[in-house]
Symmetry: C2
Subunit: 396 residues, 2 copies
């Protein structure tokens, strides 16, 4: 079975999102109404009537149910509804994989990928896990929670410290990612955080979980976003230039079955990885595209060190050289691999990765606020820390 | 795009389940341990080591998380994890659709579809919906709950009564389905309810929601079950005869966007449907297989009237003639369309449809307890009442 079967069969033809709110800002409006606005906006962008959407795809147990969306929009047909199975933003590109498979196999003609986050109810993403939901801790946390390892920042801090120990990575390297991302956001009128940030500002921000400081950690937001996918054939008749799905994949770390740090599904030889080497290998192997072909990358930036490790996992630099890679300016707008060009999770908004995909589409359309000249290939790397993670290659 | 692209690319090569317990019987054992037993059993049946499973598929928000299953079994790779998006047993065949797409497109080599139900915690499936979970009622129920329409039996009773009014269907017709299913279970050593049932027993069982009596309603169970899928090519090298996926689909009722009875997503011209006409049309259209080609059918039997309406929706008889079809003995073991040959949800076990798929595989292997001679084509119809519903065609 050739692995690149999916290539060039489906395309993203519409993108949309609500206003970007602070955590809890849209609590009264609610998850479902926000999802509807994002769907309407994305369909308008595509020039497709929402009642013509016949498939729905999401991830992270999104609460805006597919059948209620289909009913609300008076769907003429309702032929597909799937959820990438896993937590947080890890499954984001898996939701696009499912959507693209449904389109490519003829199961559905037009699939919306949506995610709506409205944090008025329940726990915060960033707090100790004991406070999230009402179902108790996931089993692996039974081994780490008694020692106080309970919040996402604490877990990712361990991988960051390990990378520093193993490869000489410094907080300046993490800071470069934060500062560069803020620089991107500063020219994006929609971004939530646009004030200039210096390396000194980064270092002066309050400690969260050593070595992570506040500006190493993404914000939390209320936001909904959606993308419309259809076949490449149909895309040719629509109003916006399509962003073709060149490849999409899901995958766990390559030593998934052994020696996992509880709650930290990123095992690797060095325990200092974003756990994305397998999805990277799959993606390059399937698509025939190489890291050097990528014009811009949108790598999930919940915590700055995970971006650095993601750059290594995806092969943009060698293992352990992520620090030098970012210090050399490669991820800046004028660098070899402009990164998170709309401001990412750190400075634009935290949409569990949807706005990373949307920014990738904008780069391929040529209308990004920080446009990479003639961008033809964009990588999206999904969230890390829960498995499976995922990745997506879009081309013009 | 030819719709039958999936045909003959993936096959079910292993089946397994736990013991069949009464509701709450395995509460101390728990959902996850039960899922693991089902996976081990299904993999042993296939002759595949569980660590070689690289994809996971489920539905109805199954609580035995894919990443924990992969971790538990020391997965060598972890490349796919998806959930059909929707409640109850409606998504069962959607989980097989996702698994088959993942195998057919090369995303995964070996996908387990699993479902584990352990009802020690939370509400019962059959009770008023206000008692299920902690998140409040789904929005559509806001319109019907104030009038007392709150339990599944009440909702399906409305469609049953409508079918009786519109087409002259009788409680004897519903009873024929219950009695026939019990007859099938009586020769199945694993079935939970094997005592003989007469039509008089059916009519004497206590009323639940008019016209439904106790024996029109399925049981509730603690059970986990799993199936292993891989490519048809690889299946040829395995120990058991493969059950090929000839077609799989998901779909909502054909007038999904209009006039839905709240909580009852089965709109149709007559409001007396199982809401499966669109999946039926898709399935026959895609596969080129016709209702007359089907040797046995496993149609989700949460409530007897929905089986009768499903037989109509799938085209085994004309609309309104389901009563006469079952009265004429077509669904008996010696009839033209032996139905739910292991005893179904009504008499074998309530596994949200997994045991319907497992029985379909057994029929195709030729080792069912109530074997249909030379069965070559078996239909599985997913649950109804929430959307999207789903359907699956398996062939020898």
């Amino acid at each position: 079975m050739s692995g690149d079967w999916l290539a060039g069969k489906a395309a993203i033809v519409g993108i949309g999102h609500t206003a970007f709110g602070r955590r809890g800002e849209f609590a009264e409006r609610g998850t479902f109404a926000m999802a509807c606005e994002a769907v309407v906006t994305a369909c308008a962008d595509a020039g497709i009537d929402p009642s013509d959407v016949d498939g729905w795809s999401s991830y992270s147990d999104d609460a805006a149910a597919a059948n209620q969306l289909a009913m609300t929009f008076g769907a003429k047909r309702f032929r597909y509804a799937a959820m990438a199975w896993g937590g947080g933003g890890s499954g984001i590109c898996g939701a696009f994989l499912n959507a693209a498979m449904a389109v490519a196999t003829g199961q559905a003609d037009c699939v919306v990928v949506s995610r709506s986050i409205c944090q008025g109810e329940g726990g915060r993403f960033g707090q100790a896990l004991a406070g999230v939901g009402g179902g108790g801790l996931p089993a692996p946390f039974s081994f780490s929670s008694p020692y106080g390892l309970m919040s996402p920042a604490q877990m990712f801090a361990l991988a960051a410290r390990r990378h520093m120990h193993r490869f000489g990575t410094t907080v300046d390297h993490f800071g470069e990612i934060a500062v560069n991302t803020r620089r991107m956001a500063s020219t994006n009128p929609a971004a939530r955080f646009r004030e200039p940030m210096t390396m000194a500002d980064h270092h002066a921000s309050r400690p969260i979980a050593d070595p992570l400081r506040l500006f190493d950690c993404c914000m939390e937001s209320d936001v909904a976003a959606a993308c419309v996918l259809t076949s490449v054939d149909r895309a040719a008749d629509l109003r916006r230039p399509p962003a073709r799905v060149a490849s999409a994949t899901m995958g766990g770390p390559y030593r998934y079955g052994e020696g996992l740090l509880a709650g930290h599904q990123m095992a690797d030889d060095d325990f200092a990885s974003a756990g994305q080497r397998t999805v990277a290998d799959d993606l390059w192997g399937k698509s025939g595209i190489r890291p050097g072909d990528v014009d811009a990358a949108m790598i999930y930036d919940h915590f700055t060190p995970m971006v650095l490790m993601g750059l290594e996992d995806f092969g943009f630099c060698a293992k352990g050289e992520g620090g030098a890679f970012v210090a050399d300016g490669h991820i800046r707008l004028d660098g070899s691999l402009p990164l998170n060009t709309s401001g990412g999770n750190l400075s634009e908004v935290y949409s569990h990765g949807m706005t990373h995909v949307i920014e990738a589409v904008r780069q391929l359309r040529g209308d990004a606020v920080n446009q990479v000249p003639d961008a033809e290939v964009v990588l999206v790397g999904g969230g890390t820390g829960t498995s499976p993670t995922s990745a997506l290659l879009l081309t013009r």
